[in-house]
């Protein structure tokens, strides 16, 4: 069992949790993820590692209530335990000779939870980081204060203009580029349509663009192949070949189609979860 050491709701849908997992904490690197299972009948879900503390032996995850499992995870408190917590999975981000280079890190929605450790790691590697973060509205805004110290610029975009600038993250990137900003690399993390939009914007101007694919997966070790996607015409597994890929080479249309595989079943599970919360009869 893996004890929850701390829990903090960052806003109404996004929660941060620190979980005791000493082995994972010792090895975790930027860009990697864990898979957890709440209990015996639970499903295995992948979540990006947001932070680690090898001394305490803990790993921090940030998740959004998006399906039945994350909704149920959000009902657990510090002191509760998770049945399973395995990692670190996937490849670490490759930063190479990033020192001194200028990087735009773009996070949308929950993507910012993943973009945030990226920005931290890039800054530690000596990169100059601009951050563009997008939210639907001000109430969903998270982590911008924590980012401010690590980035040269933090541009906040909201769909409704309730904070920062009105528009999408791509509008923010465009403005920075138009104002003469030069980037050696763009890292985009968030919903698939947002990552695709960023990749389409950077393609004609040939800025290397990294995206992080959060595919449906079970084991996370290459065994099931459920997380497969097409990159540059080749089938790759997000769990072992990724989760980060060249955004200009990912087949996003196919990835979106595969992401919808269990839409109906997700609805069933959500209804069942709501039923449990309201004390309704169990099926």
């Amino acid at each position: 069992m893996y004890r929850i050491l701390a829990k903090e709701r960052l806003n109404e849908t996004i929660t941060r949790m620190r979980v005791e997992a000493p082995r994972v904490a010792r090895k975790a690197g930027p860009g990697q993820f864990i898979i957890l299972r709440i209990d015996e009948d639970g499903e295995r879900i992948p979540l990006t590692i947001a932070a680690k503390d090898p001394v305490e032996g803990s790993v921090t995850i940030i998740f959004q209530k998006a399906g039945a499992t994350t909704a149920r995870l959000d009902t657990l408190e510090a002191g509760d335990s998770l049945q399973d917590f395995v990692g670190p999975l996937g490849k670490e981000s490759e930063f190479g000779d990033i020192a001194g280079k200028r990087v735009a890190v773009i996070g949308g929605g929950l993507g910012i939870a993943i973009a945030y450790p990226q920005a931290m790691a890039l800054s530690e590697h000596g990169a100059k980081v601009d951050m563009i973060v997008g939210f639907r509205n001000k109430s969903l805004e998270i982590l911008t204060d924590e980012l401010a110290g690590k980035c040269e610029r933090v541009v906040v975009m909201t769909d409704d203009g309730s904070n920062g600038r009105k528009g999408f993250v791509t509008d923010g990137l465009k403005e920075l580029l138009d104002s003469g900003a030069k980037y050696d690399r763009v890292i985009a993390i968030g919903p698939l349509p947002m990552m695709r939009a960023v990749a389409e914007m950077t393609r004609p101007i040939a800025i290397p663009t990294v995206v992080s694919m959060n595919s449906i997966m079970i084991d996370g070790t290459g065994m099931c192949g459920g997380c497969r996607l097409t990159v540059d015409g080749e089938v790759r597994f997000a769990c072992v070949d990724g989760p980060e890929f060249d955004g200009h080479k990912v087949d996003f249309a196919e990835a979106m189609q595969r992401g919808r595989m269990y839409k109906d079943e997700e609805k069933t599970s959500m209804e069942r979860h709501a039923c449990r919360l309201t004390g309704g009869a169990r099926a």
Partner: protein, 464 residues
Amino acid sequence: MKPNMTPTKTPMPEQDPIVRAGNFQEVALGYTPEMAALEATRCLNCKNAPCMQGCPVNVHIPDFIARIRENDLAGAYAVLKGTNALPAVCGRVCPQETQCESKCVRGVKGEPVAIGRLERFVADSCMDTAAPVSPAPENGKRVAVIGSGPSGLTCAGDLRKLGYSVTIFEALHTPGGVLVYGIPEFRLPKALVRREIATLEAMGVRIETNTVVGKTVTVEELMQEEGYDAIYIGSGAGLPRFQGIPGENLNGVYSANEFLTRVNLMKAYRFPETDTPVRVGKAAAVIGGGNVAMDAARCAKRLGAEKVYIVYRRGEAEMPARREEIHHAKEEGVEFLLLTNPTRVLGDENGRVTGMECVKMALGEPDASGRRRPVAQPGSEFTLPLDTVIVAIGNSPNPLVRSTTPGLETQKWGGIIADEETGATSLENVYAGGDAVTGAATVILAMGAGKKAAAAIHAKLSGH
């Protein structure tokens, strides 16, 4: 006592095919004590015991069967357990017809002794009541076993008996490897796998689940930082192969690994009571002709598919699956489309599978495997309407261990290079066996490799 010269095996009762195709309970029901006693009298107790040469873990077969005849089941179980860590598993999933039973003298005129059924009977009767095997006291030497499948469990059990302190590292949340994620409940009940593993734990074997060697910890770290004296790699063949035909990434195309893992390990057949879904629809095709293909097809049937096809490019005689599995699948209503090769998976505007284009094949000259090579017949193309396609054409070894263990030599296709007799690899005190070395094979061969490696590790660490 005069041997029972009946030429056929005592039949084992089974669930009715129509009934069982609607449930996940075990198909074969096992012998009663009377049936076992009767079958045991068919054994001639040959002095040279040819059957034993067919057993990769050297079960003392005539000996355990003699004890059934003497009504000493506890004794029979002790004989089994003496060389086989998982008799209840082997009694069910071993291909006895090509192993022990293929060497049985009774098989010359009639059917061999039903060794597998007897093994199963003894294990089922005794595993809950038998006194735990008392291992030698821990000798201070530590061995790490990577993977808790049949190979790792066998190696761990043997080493613990010899006095080593043994820890198994398992990537998934439940130990058992292919016994829990691959082989379905109706062929190998998971409660039974748990009981077999519990007997190993009772002997003092430690199991750390949720530990992916290569990611959570490396082989090098286990030896240098955590102080293990030797390592056994039994990480299996866990990387699914696809055909590379158009449409394989449509929604509704599964690797057999994914499909079976959802069903067996994650218990998707109980969704939404369990949280992991699986989708089968009304018509499903399984591509491939091995035991895994049969397992997937039979699961699809049980999940409610009205039409389930096995699509195989060669003929039935060339199928690598056990005859018994093919027979069971047919009984349950699985249809066999032989000499048929898929060329494209078709989908609708939402990316969901709607069918599969296939072409009929004919057998030509023998290929490298010695089997006649299938050749496409032009003009024989047809479309099969489907909701689900399951690709069961084999697995490659999982690269996580080899790619993170510098100096570990592997074959071009990914298998770890290990000595056939000892499991020794290119790294000192690192041994390997099972599917990680051979590519996908059988439970019992993997167990045999674990057993040989345990003996070699003992010889190396004890200095004789």
